[in-house]
């Protein structure tokens, strides 16, 4: 149990990245339209986020500096300010989707209209940010989020033809879809896996937990358990959709359809488990994005931050998170579709991704920060390859989004 709790930070970070409200739906959409033919992208994304989250955790443990502090220090106020604006747009848009997602998940469980749940959801998120100790927060949401393993269980219960499922793993565009749409979803999945607030949250979480150079093994374990698990669950959702929704010709456009394959596989009990998982995952992602908003702003401007301090000792940090939640409730009050909101974060990710991962790589090689813990050659080689992929994906994302009308 203690071992499991030690990796709660990694699990929560990965849930916020791979299994937030927008990604839950995207994974089901991908499964129902493309089968397993995009699973390789999730695999590539898992390796990428593992490499950079490992570096950001290592920098935080050895030097005590969280990721946005080193972004500001290496890029200077202008480029880091641009990154801050883009990152805040991504995190706040995702926060809007998460608060809306918690409300939708509660509607699944209660049949009370989701708009009534929005203020309740936002208040609950704030109470946790305000009062609950960081370690308890990550342990509870991380453990409850594990209920999403129900999707992997459902795949087994559906008793698929494993040979056929494995044959779908080859990257190929299905006949009824065009290549532009395929690549749009490929970039959306890759961007979700590598979304920048994961490293903000992971490195700042390391500081919250008081990591030192002695905790490098903990950091590595968090990375190696959390992100592959997130990727596995993400692929399981796609597999459920590919096995049930694709043959039935059902187009996914709402969160409630996620439960259809699960209900067929495991009945009401498994659906109940999945709903617990969805609520925990969206709640966890809401906490992660709200905290990341506070972390990135505070670290850029040099404000006192962290849940390990009394709220009054990190006043501007807490005020920033309160304002982010107020914005989220205000946006949701316009009756906008919370899931559709996340599609536009791709535009801002295009700016934020390269400007986040480049300084991490540079500082991970700086002996002033890292002492003898600087990156090895293999790590640098992999990270450089990923930086090139990130830039290519970032540049291609916007024209693909316009050409395919966001996956139309």
């Amino acid at each position: 149990m203690k071992r499991l709790l030690a990796v709660a930070l990694g699990i929560l970070t990965a849930i916020g990245g791979f299994l937030d409200a927008g990604d839950l739906v995207t994974n089901a959409v991908v499964g129902s339209r493309f089968g397993m033919s995009l699973a390789w992208v999730v695999g590539a994304g898992v390796i990428g986020i593992c490499v950079f989250a490992h570096m950001s955790g290592k920098v935080a443990a050895v030097s005590g500096r969280a990721t946005f502090e080193i972004i500001r220090e290496r890029l200077g106020p202008r480029a880091a300010g641009l990154n801050l604006a883009a990152s805040l747009a991504v995190t706040v848009l995702t926060l809007v989707a998460e608060v809306g997602g918690i409300a939708l998940a509660l509607q699944l469980a209660s049949s009370v209209d989701h708009r009534l749940w929005v203020p309740v959801a936002a208040l609950a998120v704030w109470l946790v940010l305000w009062r609950v100790k960081f370690e308890i927060m990550e342990n509870v949401t991380g453990l409850l989020g594990l209920a999403l393993v129900g999707f992997a269980v459902a795949v087994f219960l559906l008793g698929p033809d494993w040979g056929e499922l494995a044959a779908q793993l080859a990257p190929q565009v299905p006949v009824e879809e065009d290549a532009g749409t395929y690549w749009y979803y490929a970039i959306a999945l890759f961007g979700a896996a590598m979304t920048p607030y994961e490293v903000f949250f992971f490195s700042s979480g390391g500081v919250e937990e008081g990591w030192t150079a002695k905790d490098l093994a903990t950091s590595r374990l968090n990375v190696l358990v959390g992100f592959p698990l997130g990727g596995l669950l993400s692929v399981s959702i796609a597999a459920c959709a590919a096995l049930v929704l694709m043959p039935a010709g059902i187009q996914v456009d709402a969160m409630s359809q996620l439960t259809l394959p699960v209900a067929q596989a495991g009945g009401t009990l498994l659906v109940a488990v999945i709903i617990v998982g969805i609520v925990a995952a969206t709640f966890g992602a809401a906490l992660e994005t709200a905290l990341s908003t506070g972390y990135s702003l505070s670290q850029y401007l040099g404000w006192s931050w962290g849940k390990f301090r009394r709220p009054a000792q990190a006043a501007r940090f807490h005020l920033a998170m309160i304002l982010a939640l107020v914005v989220a409730v205000a946006v949701l009050a316009t009756n906008v579709d919370p899931i559709a909101v996340t599609e536009y974060s791709v535009v801002f990710s295009a700016v934020a991704l390269p400007l986040t991962y480049l300084p991490i790589l540079v500082v991970a090689n700086d002996p002033e920060y890292m002492g003898d813990q600087v990156n090895g050659r293999a790590m640098n080689a992999v990270a450089t390859v990923y930086l090139v992929i990130i830039v290519v994906a970032a540049v291609a994302a916007i024209p693909l989004m316009i050409a395919t009308e966001a996956g139309g």
Partner: protein, 147 residues
């Protein structure tokens, strides 16, 4: 050439050589309790010598002639960030200074000998604490003290 002696190279200084851009600018400034008080947004330079280190440059100061040694007199933070992003030069009276003599260490962060709450720089933190966050129930609750 006007016949003047060629410029001599800078004499080697004892101690550690700091590159302002690489080692100082944009680093976190931490107080004596390791609480962040700001980001090192800019540096204030002034002539060295008696009386010079404490004051800030003024319009009626004699112009520097190239023979005066210039030293860092203060760290600047706060609104001066705007000039780093957009350029320009606001009146020096508007800057928040932390005198260089309070600096105790320059590493991956710049450490001060004072408490952050005693600096003018952190007035926004205190304002938000006194008017908003400290007034909400539980705002002064210690997270380590249990529920």
């Amino acid at each position: 050439m006007t016949g003047a002696a060629p410029l001599l190279p800078e004499p080697r200084q004892p101690g550690r050589v700091l590159d302002a851009r690489l080692h100082l600018l944009d680093r976190q400034v931490l107080d004596v309790d390791s609480v962040p008080v700001g980001t090192l947004d800019d540096l204030e330079l002034g002539p060295s010598g008696p009386g010079a280190a404490a004051g800030s440059p003024r319009a009626d100061d004699p112009p520097l002639d190239g023979t005066t040694t210039v030293v860092v007199t203060a760290l600047l933070s706060g609104p001066v960030l705007g000039t780093r992003v957009f350029g320009g030069r606001p009146p020096a009276s508007r800057w928040h200074r932390v005198l260089w003599r309070h600096v105790t260490d320059v590493g991956t962060a710049v450490r001060l000998a004072n408490r952050g709450d005693d600096l003018d720089l952190t007035w926004t933190e205190r304002w938000v604490r006194d008017h908003v966050v400290g007034r909400l129930p539980g705002g002064r609750h210690d997270p380590d003290a249990g529920p």
